[in-house]
Symmetry: C2
Subunit: 294 residues, 2 copies
């Protein structure tokens, strides 16, 4: 650890993802000030060496960098904006990194708002789940200007694999595309398994045969197994997957873009959730395809 790369970081939101991320930053030698609405969720970070503070502004006021890992766009807005908001509390020339998954338009609006306070803004949503947060192996999709990205890249490398995707909002856009690909891939693998089962092949052996070929994917290996074993303990609940595909479709709609396969898969998730399977893992989409083919 060199002193030149040691930063004072405000960390807002220490839930399932935020807590292990903040802990990694502390262990990397940074001075981390943590705030969480439910303070008890931040307590474990004190033993690691983080400072627990009483309000978001306190976490922000003396920090070079503020990281936000809250649950949704409106919650982010509530903390960032408004009369006692984070943006007002932050020092000019500090950097705000929003790592929550929020709508593209919300990220773009927040970036504009940040600029009026001379705050650098990056949207940097992640993929990889709790284990990725613990291991520091998250896929981190970053939107914002290049200079701001370069200035904090070393911090993000502590949390995973940051890739700069484009201007503000692009990180969130990449996350949407990620979720869209996941949904379509689950539908695709489900249809292949159904074809194998009904056609008289052993679907588990079929998946094994396909590994390593052009049809191979993370979804084939992980979610394909879940479908065959009918193990639908989430993982990622179908209701969240549906929320993501809905958000992607709404954004495509704003662009005047018709994406026929994604539109169809979105409607399949809508039916799945309507049938009461929203709490099941998103691989449960195969149940909807089976109901469709009784």
């Amino acid at each position: 650890m060199t002193t030149t790369t040691t930063r004072t970081i405000g960390f807002i939101g220490t839930g399932i993802m935020g807590a292990p991320m903040a802990a990694r930053l502390v262990k990397a030698g940074h001075q981390v000030r943590v705030w969480n609405r439910t303070k008890s969720k931040a307590d474990s970070l004190e033993t690691v060496g983080a400072e627990i503070v009483d309000n978001p502004e306190e976490a922000a006021s003396d920090s070079d960098v503020v990281i936000v890992m809250l649950s949704s766009g409106p919650v982010c807005d509530e903390i960032l904006l408004g009369s006692s908001g984070l943006l007002k509390a932050m020092q000019p020339d500090a950097t705000l990194i929003v790592m929550s998954s929020i709508p593209v338009e919300t990220a773009r609006r927040q970036a504009e708002e940040a600029a009026t306070h001379q705050i650098h803004y990056l949207d940097a949503p992640v993929s990889g789940g709790e284990q990725g947060a613990i291991d520091g192996s998250l896929a981190i999709m970053v939107g914002g200007d290049t200079t701001s990205f370069k200035a904090v890249e070393h911090l993000l490398l502590t949390l995973g694999r940051p890739v700069h995707v484009g201007p503000a909002g692009s990180g969130e856009l990449a996350k949407l595309a990620n979720q869209m690909i996941v949904a379509n891939s689950i539908a695709t693998v489900a249809e292949a398994i159904l074809l194998a089962e009904r056609g008289g092949a052993n679907p588990e052996r079929m998946l094994a045969a396909l590994e390593g070929g052009f049809a191979d994917s993370t979804i084939l290996r992980i979610h394909g197994q879940r479908m065959i074993q009918e193990n639908f303990t989430p993982g990622g609940p179908s209701k969240w997957q549906f929320k993501d595909t809905q958000t992607a479709m709404a954004f495509a709609g704003e662009l005047g873009l018709d994406l026929p396969v994604s539109t169809l898969v979105n409607s399949l998730y809508e039916k799945l959730v309507a049938q009461g399977d929203g709490e099941l893992d998103h691989s449960a989409l195969i149940r909807q395809l089976k109901r469709h083919n009784v």
Copy 2:
């Protein structure tokens, strides 16, 4: 090489895939008799140590195993069946391995026909292309009975990674599922790239950001790059991809199975080919989605 595993093998069809496969079997120490309709295509195998014969029956008559790597179901039928067919020429208790991609029903019918001649039958189509054939790294999807599979598994291991998927026809069924997943994955990655491009992100950086996450796949890495670079030199021509998805849809139809995503992607390939893009690589499906969104 032990003498107990050395076999006399008839090899029928030494095209782009068949020639390097036959060469691997020769180099593994087996006695290989090769026949090809255009004899000159088999010539290079003579220098490796294969015996070139004048007709399929000669390749079959003294062989323990006959491997067929011809271009289509009807061509296979023509060589296998009929008055001077391979099945009549083969010794009882020999094994016929059809490694061509042919319809499931054709494989099942051939298996029944083979049984009447006391011939063991396996359908064992491959995925992995010419390079996989040269390297011996083909994905090999095998249908047939377990005893017959076990008896020739060591031969197939010389060619790649054989997986026994179920009874006769199951290998071809797995291959269909493989092609269906490939088609749907190409459509999915194309839609994600379109969303990124139109939404103002850098699609190449987006693909880089998605690698290693749940959205990762062979298609994302290989065909995603082709789409961004608009490099549509095949690879696998779209007209063949369309033939495969059509075959898959016809088979699903026979089972009374409605696979909505695959049906939609099949219709997208139909339009792509109708627009004159049949000779382009199957990743050119993004062109159809772009025309759809002018």
